[in-house]
């Protein structure tokens, strides 16, 4: 496939591995922020290939994994509302979210128990659903990072333009950079450099990382998802670390510019405001989320269905996914990994999500 195969060329990959080996004089600890990068590293055997040179720890960059259980619980209550005559709700969600456990099972369980849950492929599909079913209230479960926030903003604007009143958003969008800063501020922090998530930067640019690099004196390299992208990013980090440098570099210039996608940022600013948000595994992350601003609050499902009471969240005690998400442990170090917690019976979101670090280890890691 054009534009992909050249980033998967085994000979070039081997050369990059060699270059990393030549550079490294001590084991450095790098964090790949994005779950897609974790999968790329493990799926292609890169982590194993680099053993002894760099330690890769897996960051919180899976939007499904970090969605607060409280949001899933709320979504499940919404999905059950279709049985009442006054609130005939359809909960529309991306497929990724369907198997993530809340306090009482997943959205798939809710569906099996009679809840009205529909998988959609884009937020605009949910708007279409609302158009086709004026007798129902369609709620889109808006999860994801800066990558998906513009699309849900566009959906809500589309609904407003078309005069659709039976559409709303259960907004659970999260912002990556505040979580990266929270990690660096932790007393347990081991991160010496970040591979920044390429697709988040495609929207947000990387300018905003520059003050962070100054503040914490660590390299941040914008990195893509293909094997050669990942190896380029790692090599760049290692070079900076070995030379005592700390800058933001862009190793993903085919997808990312310094300023990012201005149109996407504009629509996000128009519709949302920054808020503090609970992240699964992190607790409340200051400025770690987006919520609909005053102008668009009437499309907020939490306001529209304010009679739903948030119930106490029940997290399984054995699950150490909070530590995994914060990069404090690797998935196999969790006592439940592969035993009480498997993709068939996941305890934490990182085991169920297609982008989750635990699932990546379970799938691709060679013991």
């Amino acid at each position: 496939m054009k534009y992909l195969d050249e980033y998967r060329d085994p000979a070039s990959a081997k050369k990059l591995v060699e270059a990393i080996r030549r550079q490294v004089t001590r084991p450095w600890t790098l964090m790949e922020v994005c779950g897609g990068q974790t999968h790329g590293l493990l799926r292609n055997g890169i982590e194993a290939e680099l053993q002894g040179t760099v330690e890769l720890i897996h960051g919180p960059g899976c939007p499904v994994c970090v969605t607060a259980m409280e949001s899933i619980d709320f979504a499940q209550q919404l999905a059950m509302l279709h049985t009442t005559s006054t609130n005939n709700v359809v909960l529309a969600s991306f497929g990724d979210m369907m198997r993530v456990p809340g306090s009482h099972g997943s959205l798939l369980d809710t569906k099996a128990n009679g809840g009205n849950v529909k998988t959609v492929y884009s937020p605009l599909d949910a708007v279409e659903l609302a158009k086709r079913h004026p007798e129902k209230q369609v709620v889109f479960f808006a999860v994801g990072f800066e990558t998906t926030a513009p699309a849900t903003a566009l959906a809500v604007k589309q609904a407003a333009n078309d005069g659709i009143h039976n559409f709303s958003l259960l907004v659970s969008h999260v912002r990556v950079q505040p979580a990266m800063e929270a990690l660096l501020q932790s007393p347990h922090n081991r991160v010496q450099a970040f591979l920044a998530a390429g697709h988040v930067c495609a929207v947000m640019g990387y300018e905003s990382y520059e003050p962070m690099v100054e503040r914490y004196r660590l390299p941040i390299v914008v990195t893509g998802f293909e094997p050669l992208d990942l190896l380029e990013g790692i090599l760049n980090c290692v070079r900076q670390l070995e030379q005592g440098e700390a800058r933001v570099d862009n190793a993903y210039s085919r997808g990312v510019s310094r300023q990012g996608n201005q149109a996407a940022q504009d629509i996000v600013r128009e519709v949302y405001e920054v808020c503090d948000r609970p992240w699964r595994g992190f607790g409340i992350v200051t400025n770690g989320g987006l919520q609909l601003n005053q102008d668009w609050r009437h499309f907020d499902a939490r306001s529209r269905f304010d009679f739903i009471r948030s119930l106490p969240v029940i997290e399984p005690a054995e699950c150490e996914s909070a530590h995994v998400l914060a990069g404090r442990i690797k998935p196999p170090e969790c006592a439940a990994f592969g035993k009480a917690c498997t993709p068939d019976a996941p305890m934490g979101a990182p085991m169920v999500s297609s982008e989750g670090a635990c699932a990546a280890y379970y799938k691709w890691h060679t013991p």
Binding site: M1, L4, R8, P10, A13, K14, V17, C34, G35, G36, R43, N44, G45, I46, A48, E49, P63, V64, F94, G95, D96, M97, M98, R99, T119, Y121, D125, V143, G144, F145, T147, T148, H199, P227, P343, D344, S354, E355, Y362, K363, W364, H365, T366, P367
Partner: protein, 352 residues
């Protein structure tokens, strides 16, 4: 009271020529008989069905039989490369063919949802007739039920197929030995991706097409050419090639090692899979099978398969080896074998 008048002025208006399936079409009366005779039997042009008896009477067969049953609930009913009609025939025929049988007889149970356009039913049945004709299987018995609107998704079909086992019958996956070679008979994942794109109206260009088709000729050709060197065959339907590899590994107690670069994937399926975050090795096929042959027999097998248009892109993808820590391994770019997982249920497209 004038009884004759009551009979002549029946208060219930029955539209015998409704363009849609009605509940009355399933209730044993004139409408049902008309539907069966004028739509189903006529299109399928089966002598056995035309008798409309309670059971099909079939001639004696000398050897052992193979029998299989399957239900088809695909949505949408029509998708690029096929439809539920051809799918139900090929799906059943292929199950017989890969078991080493010559397909002979097929039953066809139709569960119709009230409101289904008769024209849709006719189109599906024409497709059934074409596929049956192409594969040489005879439709000998059937059943029709109508369920209220909302109780089904347009049309469900259940089939049962009977075939005659013809020597040499491949012994099956439990007979796999170390060194046996694994072959896939075409690009993987086409059916699942085609149906997904059609169902979700993903406007991909070009739209992926299903591989929905018959494996009868390919299985005959293979058995003729390889004889007892053919260990086992399986059409890689739900769960795709990945699921078959896992099943075979479990049956044989061996590890099955495949190479990613050798697994054929068509550009449209690869593009859609990349976009959706799915792995074609786990996506359903409907006219593509995995076969295992004795060590050294893969060249002969490939030559036989490549002589047929439907299996011209066959490729050797791996080998059976001594049992390792993981049942199925895949070798990717660094040449390091890694575990190949089994997905949990249907793979879900990713957010990012």
């Amino acid at each position: 009271m004038n009884q004759t008048s009551w009979e002549l002025h029946c208060p219930v208006a029955v539209n015998n020529d409704s363009p849609r399936v009605m509940l009355a079409h399933g209730e044993g009366g004139r409408m049902m008989r008309k539907l069966i005779r004028e739509t189903i039997v006529d299109i399928l042009s089966s002598e056995s069905l035309a008798e409309m008896d309670d059971a099909a009477r079939l001639p004696a067969i000398d050897g052992p039989l193979a029998m299989t049953t399957d239900s088809f609930v695909v949505s949408p009913l029509f998708f690029p490369g096929g439809d539920i009609g051809s799918l139900c025939v090929y799906g059943t025929v292929n199950d017989l063919a890969v078991s080493g049988a010559k397909p002979l007889y097929l039953t066809l149970s139709l569960i119709l949802e009230e409101g289904l356009p008769i024209a849709v039913l006719q189109e599906v049945l024409q497709s059934v007739a074409r596929a049956a004709n192409q594969t040489g299987i005879k439709i000998v018995a059937g059943d029709t039920k109508v369920v209220p609107r909302g109780a089904a998704d347009g049309l469900f079909i259940n089939t049962t197929g009977i075939g005659e086992l013809v020597d040499p019958v491949p012994p099956g996956p439990q007979a796999l030995c170390e060194g046996d070679e694994l072959i896939v008979t075409g690009p993987v994942g086409r059916h699942g991706i085609a149906v997904l794109c059609a169902r979700e109206e993903l406007a991909l260009q070009p739209a992926p097409t299903s591989d929905c088709g018959s494996l009868v000729a390919a299985t005959m050709q293979l058995r003729h050419r390889l004889g007892t060197r053919l260990r086992t065959m399986r059409d890689a339907t739900r769960g795709g090639v990945g699921a078959v590899l896992h099943e075979w590994s479990e049956s044989s107690g061996l590890t099955l090692a495949v190479n990613e670069k050798d697994i054929p994937v068509s550009p449209d399926v690869r593009g859609a899979s990349e976009l959706l975050g799915l792995d074609p090795i786990h996506i359903a096929n409907e006219g593509t099978m995995l076969i295992a042959v004795e060590s050294g027999a893969s060249e002969d097998a490939l030559e036989a398969l490549r002589s047929l248009p439907e299996t011209q892109y066959s490729a050797k993808i791996g080998t059976a080896i001594t049992r390792q820590a993981t049942p199925v391994t895949i070798t990717r770019m660094f040449g390091r074998p890694q575990p190949l997982d089994q997905p949990q249920g249907a793979p879900q497209p990713r957010i990012c």
